[in-house]
Amino acid sequence: MRIFITLAIIILSGGTLLAQQPTPPTNLKVADFVNDAGDRLQLTWNLSEDDPALDGSDAEDASTEDVPAELDNPIIQYRIDRQTSGDSEFEEVGTVDAGIDEYVAKELEQQKYTFRVIAIAADGSVSVPSETASGTPIVQWIDKSKIAFGIFMLIVCGSVVYFIEMAKAGRTLNVRKIAGLEAIEEAVGRATEMGRDCLFVPGIQDINDIQTVAGITVLSRVAELTAEYDAGLDVPTTRSLVMTTARETVEGAYTAAGRPDLYNPDNIYYLTDEQFGFVAAVTGKMVREKPAACFYMGAFYAESLIFAETANTVGAIQIAGTAMPSQLPFFVAACDYVLIGEEFFAASAYLSGEPQQLGSLKGQDVGKFIAAIFLIVGAVLMTVGEFISPGSEGEGSGMFREVILFIKDGLLGN
């Protein structure tokens, strides 16, 4: 009888014995995943001894190229099993590749979960499970890692709001002239004299791009001018939503200028969503209708130069404003006036003529001032750091290093 039982055990377990059951991962720990919505747990463990990643780190000096992996049956994966409290069964919830010693369990409720990890070898044999570990996800209502960032943002946003309020209260704020803005009126005037249209392109992005919104604000001012001068205005758009928004804006501007009779919604139209379909239609229009003034205000891509060169051949005055750094060189080279980056956003505030909008420019200056202070203080501190500890890339050592790291990773970290 005993012989049979022994035989049976040998036969039954034979496969696994021959395949050398891999050693299990150890020291499984389950912790709350920090700064999340309370639906995740962080699992960590020590790798199985049969993990090739461990092998590599053991034999660091051996040239890995000639020596084949020493393991006959290396681990290829870890399987993670989960037991929901109350349930008796463990269920597989995920796998990670060998060499990885962590896993984030997701889409959990706020209750207790128990986990175990099993190593799987190349031939498919599995280890015995690791010891189990449990944890409960906790909701974090505030992401603590972002507090410093939040305060920083609050200061900059706060100063924008502060200056807007100050301007509303009637304080006069001095803001320097922005070259190119007077040119807008000049260009509309010239178009009127020549009896030709003004062409306004509010970029090629949808209304969800802030540059398009800023472009629409500039359009509002240009439309007021064309209404005053009774010049033609032509606004092709590449998005339906931009078309409807631009119509609202232009209608408002014509009403504000006291010429609602001149407003014609057909002049603000949708062409196509496709970038170059739009380019083909707009350049075709330029060549045939020869606008006297062209405004490009918004997000632009490759079309910048095609527009600028084509409009040039028909002798149009061109004024561009964009925050696309890659297109600025082309506008700078080929247009008469260009609003560079931040100037473009500033222009919309400047042109509105409303004092509270100018307040926002002061707020932006505070932001730049803070940036400048950071750059100067940072440079000085880090230079000191170099003297304290040469070759430390300015981080210094000891207490000093703590200060530098606080600025870099605390205040300016992500």
């Binding site: 994966q77 796998t95 990885i100 891509y301 992500n414």
Partner: protein, 288 residues
């Protein structure tokens, strides 16, 4: 006053167009190849893929369309060949609708040059999802939420290499090839910057490059900007994997680079000529 300079000042720009046409077309027909000198950035990008252990998982978003093929196709080819040589698993995806066709070209290349590569095991085509950078934000924390099936509609539960992939933080490297927004910039902003575990290298057009340099090296390992670095990448790759050089069209960037060479010198000549015209006819110079 009707000197040759004045005539040149009124030069019909169509002559310049014709010149450009010839400068690009003729070298392309001859197929001449010029030697390349490899820059350190290219080596960094190459090493990012090469030093990963064999069989690593690589996310390869191809966010460009046919209009950028002339510039990006050679480097996309090089990246795919390199990954296949290293037996990396490739996860293709795109946030550009037209990117789907670009992925198909790479799959055709894999089928032709690496017949052993199996769909679902060694590479997968996750296809296009709308939502601009929203897609990137979502898959950094939850991949299956958006990608519950591949391009063919096969549920990810039936694709072996998708097992255990919950988000792209689990993939050791992103290799992005992009020609605009949303593209490499958004991958850096929404994936590589907030998550320390996500490493990224990219291939992009020369245009995009200048706005992306500030992200290197803190937010991005490196990038190939345009045809020249792509040709250098080919050179590094040929040195390590000489068998690739034997295949037809594997030196596409080298071939294209010859046309670039001629075009650049033509442009330099045009600029100098334009300035000479200005000086010689000065008094009426400046922009007209």
């Amino acid at each position: 006053m009707n000197t040759i300079w004045h005539k040149l000042a009124d030069l019909d720009r169509r002559w310049l167009f014709a010149l450009t046409f010839l400068a690009i077309g003729i070298p392309l027909l001859t197929g001449v190849v010029l030697p390349q000198k490899v820059s350190p950035m290219v080596v960094n990008v190459f090493d990012a893929i090469d030093t990963l252990p064999e069989g690593s998982s690589i996310l390869m978003p191809l966010d460009f369309d046919p209009s950028a093929e002339g510039e990006l196709q050679p480097m996309a080819n090089a990246f795919v060949r390199h990954c296949a040589e290293k037996k990396h698993k490739i996860y293709f995806m795109t946030i550009w609708p037209q990117g789907v066709g670009m992925i198909q070209r790479q799959i055709a290349l894999l089928k032709k040059e690496y017949p052993d590569y199996q769909y679902g095991k060694d590479y997968v085509n996750l296809g296009y999802r709308p939502g601009y950078e929203g897609v990137i934000k979502l898959i950094t924390s939850d991949l299956p939420k958006l990608y519950d099936s591949d391009q063919q509609g096969t549920p990810v539960s039936q694709i072996p290499m998708m097992q255990g992939i919950d988000n792209i933080q689990q993939l050791p490297l992103i290799v992005n090839v992009s020609s605009g927004d949303p593209g490499l910039k958004q991958w850096v902003q929404y994936a590589a910057t907030p998550y320390d575990s996500i490493e990224i290298v990219g291939g992009t057009t020369g245009v995009q490059a200048s706005t992306l340099y500030p992200y290197i090296p803190n937010q991005m390992i490196g990038m190939l900007a345009g045809i020249k670095p792509a040709a250098e990448y080919e050179k590094v790759m040929f040195e390590k994997y000489p068998e690739i050089e034997e295949r037809p069209e594997s030196n596409l960037a080298h071939i294209f680079m010859t046309s670039q060479e001629v075009a650049h010198f033509m442009l330099i000549a045009i600029i100098i000529l334009g300035n000479l015209v200005m000086w010689k006819t000065s008094g009426q110079g400046g922009r007209s």
